[in-house]
Symmetry: C2
Subunit: 341 residues, 2 copies
């Protein structure tokens, strides 16, 4: 094992609000001895995601908090470099929850490890369009949105890792795909590069009017990522029988007083004719993990599924990239290239 030198980012101090210097630290870390059934993964790419921030708090109940001194959680894609498992061979590529470190020892029975069967697309796509965000888009849209050709599908946060896939899948199904995003650059990307029919800039005012013009036949499916005023506008345009998969509602995360919050569930449930709507987690369709991943990887390979990435080079730049991402500075999937060439 001595030929590998591990380094990783650990939690030194629980951040109070915004992350500051000294909360996280990049340190040398040991690599545990492999036991029977263990594999050693060399991490190539790390995914940075908003969910990581609350995990640094001293949570109760929601999810296990990162302990002081522990490696920050996160999904990565990497290569098996040692194996004491019958299921994985040296050279296999996997996605796994390694956290922010260069080497990761995992038991082969860990259900969060998935072998990559087709490595003809960029590895890091398995953290984005062909990864968890892609499967989240696919599962929510197909199983809950149930779009039919000719229907109008609206998705908020349309330029994001999930929203961008939702709209492209909807187009492929013969739907009218309308995105909602913040700012002109993101909107142009959504229409010109991703091929949505329209994209509404929620920052430009007249949200309802613009959305109405973009959806002349009303809205049949609304893939919810944001909540708040966007949801209120959409709610006025939903057709009878509409479906609303609720993936998240990021607009509420900054709201201080819960008694003032209108979650999408409050807005939609209080309508005179509430649409079919519910929150979901991608884990609901874990039994279709391999099948969906292959489907999405195929679309990446043939160029029908497009995406953007913002890449930080090296684990030493992960913290800055993470801070930037929390402020919305990334465009597309935020990644850290952990194994430098």
């Amino acid at each position: 094992m001595g030929i590998y030198q591990n380094r990783g980012v650990v939690l030194r101090r629980r951040p109070q609000g915004e992350l500051v210097d000294g909360d996280l630290e990049l340190v040398d870390l040991p690599i545990p001895e492999l036991g029977d059934g263990d594999i050693l993964v060399e991490v190539h790419w790390l995914s940075l995601d908003p969910y990581m921030r609350p995990r640094l708090n001293d949570l109760k109940g929601y999810a296990e908090p990162v302990g002081i001194g522990d490696v920050i959680v996160g999904e990565s894609v990497g290569r098996v470099v040692e194996s004491k498992s019958d299921n994985y061979r040296v050279g296999d590529f996997v996605t796994c929850y390694s956290g922010w470190q260069k080497y990761f020892v995992a038991r082969d029975s860990d259900e969060s490890i998935h072998r990559i069967v087709d490595s003809e697309i960029p590895l890091q796509a398995y953290l984005g369009a062909a990864g968890m965000p892609g499967r989240t888009a696919y599962g929510g849209l197909m199983h809950l949105g149930k779009p039919k050709a000719g229907e109008t599908v609206v998705v908020s946060a349309a330029s994001g890792a999930v929203g961008s896939v939702v709209g492209q899948l909807a187009k492929e199904l013969g739907c009218r795909a309308v995105g909602i995003a913040g700012g002109d650059a993101k909107c142009r990307y959504v229409t010109d590069e991703l091929g949505f029919d329209e994209c509404i800039d929620y920052k430009s005012g007249n949200l309802l009017e613009n959305l109405k013009a973009a959806c002349p036949k009303g809205i049949d499916v609304y893939y919810e990522n944001v909540g708040g005023d966007v949801t209120k506008a959409v709610a006025q345009l939903l057709n009878p029988g509409a479906r609303v998969p609720v993936c998240g509602f990021v607009s509420a995360y900054n709201e201080k007083d819960l008694q003032q919050i209108e979650t999408p569930f409050h807005i939609l449930g209080a309508l005179e004719n509430p649409p079919e709507h519910r929150f979901f987690l991608v884990s609901e369709w874990d039994d279709q993990h391999a099948e969906t991943t292959q489907k999405l990887a195929g679309k990446v390979k043939d160029g029908s599924l497009k995406y953007r990435e913002t890449i930080a080079e090296g684990l030493e730049n992960a913290e800055d990239a993470f801070k930037g991402m929390l402020k919305g500075k990334n465009f597309g999937k935020q990644l850290v290239k952990v194994k430098l060439d």
Copy 2:
């Protein structure tokens, strides 16, 4: 108009957290001259409800905040003492949103005013079991819960104004009614006086085990009032095809960090087989207002629908009663008797 002297409670200062002396004030108030179509209502009973507290904040979007100097909002029941309307006669009893005051001038076209057609039950019951809480219980249970005889119906906050009606209606439909409440006294009231089959004390520990024992055939309908750990326990016992009307989730109102919050929608939506569930407002069934009110009033009259009240005497005691209610000191519907005999 000179024969009536109005007094009311107004907002002097927006409370910072807990309500303190000087935030509210009882003052003399003018009575506007009646115009064509107006009525003057003499308020007999005022309902105190948790929703009033956030209305004292400087809200954005959720609901209109009470202005500084304005009368505190609230529903009441009273008697028409002057009328310039063809629709109401002196002597009619009505429910209306008078706010915390003794006299209220309303336009007869105001859709929030409802004439009481049967005054053979205590007037104040039209603010409770035969009022908004009763209709909320009825609408959510019947239209969304859709209970069938032989099914198991669980309701949280079972001793409250809404929960108590839910369980009694479920019993009448031939269901097994199981309540969840806090503390032995409330649980005994729910079983011994309201006639639920069982009531689980969520404060006594072993919530899941106790609930399991009380619901040997699983749970078919869960009427949600609280959220949090109660919902998590219920979620594990839901039968396939279960229905969950979400009336509220008071447990979340004290949670500071939304990223830590698990609303019932998150808990239920993330289940492998999510039940049919959604948030609702009683206004959804406004077209059945009169019919449902009569139905509930009939049950109050024949003694099949029981309830408890906590009564404060006089508008000068409304503020203390309100503070007590926010701390859960009331047992049953909190009322203010505004017109003293």
